[in-house]
């Protein structure tokens, strides 16, 4: 009789496929659902604000007689984003700003809190930062192919994020969310007096407005892929793990190579 391998001698036995394991910290779960609400409000009210002047420019200034890189004034009678996707559903710049500028605080405070926790607890370094080997082109290509074939990690390998997840979540946490907050602040005339470097970093106030819109687009793209992945990877198990923190490790594939 041969002994089974024991890689974690001082710990509980290594989790195996089918085990119910702890996956998401309470902080992560709280922040996730706060973001689900906050980002929905920010997007819907933001699209209404965009409707008030549906043109985007680069540089410091930009108005109707200046060249725009995106001009949706001719779309849908000058209101390019329809009522079903905006907050409120009827045209109201004032009401949209009321929602946008209040929920911006939830976004900023939640982001600062979570980033602080992720740094101090080691979550960022341990779970989200890709390891050097994971960034090797061969490894990235392999993971991309596996994802494209909808072959997601199983068993104990599903306990940690794969490199594509790390890159996606990491980009949202340290690039897109800080980016959308900072470009939003750079549109504020008061903040431009307080922090002139910020609007310069963006390339001007109208460039900040364009970047803000592009960050929002990237977050929408993330959301769509995120929802698709949850549905494909097993929505009940995935949603449970984000509610209770507990996740059942997927069984190994019969046809696994």
């Amino acid at each position: 009789m041969s002994l089974p391998p024991a890689p974690h001698q001082d710990e509980a036995p290594a989790p195996r496929a089918g085990d119910l394991v702890k996956r998401h910290a309470l902080v992560t779960r709280l922040w996730h659902w706060l973001n689900a609400i906050t980002l929905a409000v920010m997007l819907m009210s933001g699209l209404m604000i965009f409707n008030a002047h549906p043109r985007l420019y680069w540089g410091h200034y930009g108005a109707n007689s200046d060249p725009a890189w995106l001009d949706l004034e001719k779309v849908n009678g000058g209101i390019p984003f329809p009522g079903w996707i905006t907050l409120p559903s009827h045209y109201s710049l004032a009401d949209a700003r009321l929602w946008h500028l209040a929920f911006a605080w939830a976004l900023v405070l939640g982001l600062l809190g979570y980033l602080g926790w992720a740094l101090v607890s080691g979550h960022l370094r341990r779970n989200l930062a890709p390891k050097l080997g994971e960034l090797a082109p061969a490894h990235l290509w392999h993971d991309l192919k596996q994802h494209a074939r909808l072959r997601f990690p199983t068993g104990a390998a599903a306990l940690s994020y794969n490199v594509l997840q790390k890159l996606a979540y990491g980009a949202v946490l340290v690039v897109l969310l800080p980016g959308i907050v900072l470009t939003g602040l750079a549109m504020s005339p008061a903040m431009d007096a307080a922090w002139p470097w910020l609007v310069d970093l963006c390339g001007g106030r109208q460039a900040a407005r364009s970047l803000h819109f592009l960050c929002a687009g990237a977050l929408v793209l993330f959301f769509l892929v995120h929802i698709a992945m949850v549905l494909l990877a097993g929505p009940i198990n995935e949603v449970r793990s984000m509610l209770t923190g507990r996740y059942r490790l997927p069984p190994d594939r019969k046809d696994a190579p």
Partner: protein, 251 residues
């Protein structure tokens, strides 16, 4: 089977979407929700004031100015007295300064031009999202208020304007922090020529660290008050009273 399931899912999604939409609009109309959302304005104002202190808005060079500075809001004032003044280049017009001051003033355009002038090339940010860079010249509001002398209970400076928007007289207000900011001027000159009617002749307030709707045009009278509650809709400005815009427009 598959078709009917798809239809079922489609119907469910449609119903959920409809519920969400009407739910959002119902929340949007709820006074309690609106009050809660509006409380963020005070937090934003205090935070921004803390971060910016007395900092100046960016000033640009002539090369960075917008080729065209669009006219927004009221482009024309219908009031017949105003039209007569405009036809006479505002000869005989005076800016009234009153309210909680020691010495009420009536300043002619020449008197405003004779005061120490500030010229600034700044970016004008409309609440709608567009920006234009223009050059503004005029006396500092702080100097005008200093000449009138504020009473101890003075808190706000209200600008009564000649234009009527949606049947309501236009007015705006700022507090003393912005009123005495060095870049807050009563501009009578824009891009090296006297203000055109569309840009607010004879004078327009420039309050550079706030959005465009605070920059009152066609200013006829300045009133220093302790509170905004007794004026018109009580929220301190036309857009604040009738459109629900924030009184503090720093973002």
């Amino acid at each position: 089977m598959i078709v009917s399931r798809r239809r079922l899912i489609g119907m469910g999604a449609g119903a959920a979407g409809g519920l969400l939409l009407s739910g959002c609009d119902r929340l949007n109309e709820s006074p309690a929700v609106r009050d809660g959302l509006a409380s963020a304005e005070g937090l934003t104002m205090r935070s921004q004031r803390l971060l910016m202190g007395d900092a100046l808005a960016r000033e640009f060079t002539e090369a960075e100015m917008s080729p065209t500075f669009r006219v927004n809001g009221s482009a024309r004032v219908e009031d017949s007295a105003y039209r007569r003044l405009l036809a006479n280049q505002f000869a005989g017009w005076t800016l009234q300064v009153g309210g909680l001051v020691h010495r009420p003033l009536a300043l002619s355009l020449d008197a405003l031009k004779a005061m120490p002038q500030r010229t600034q090339i700044t970016r004008h940010d409309c609440v709608e999202g567009w920006s234009a860079i223009g050059k503004w010249q005029g006396p500092q509001l702080g100097a005008v208020l200093g000449a009138a002398g504020l009473l101890p209970n003075a808190r706000y400076v209200v600008f009564h304007c000649a234009d009527v928007l949606d049947g309501k007289p236009y007015y705006e207000s700022i507090d003393l922090i912005d009123a005495f900011h060095p870049q807050t001027i009563l501009a009578w000159r824009m891009n090296d020529v006297p203000l055109s009617e569309g840009h607010g002749a004879p004078i327009r307030l420039r309050v550079e660290r706030q959005l465009g709707y605070k920059h009152a045009k066609f200013v006829m009278r300045i009133e220093v008050t302790q509170s905004l509650a007794a004026l018109y809709g009580g929220k301190g400005g036309h857009w604040e009273d009738y459109r629900g815009y924030q009184w503090y427009a720093g973002i």
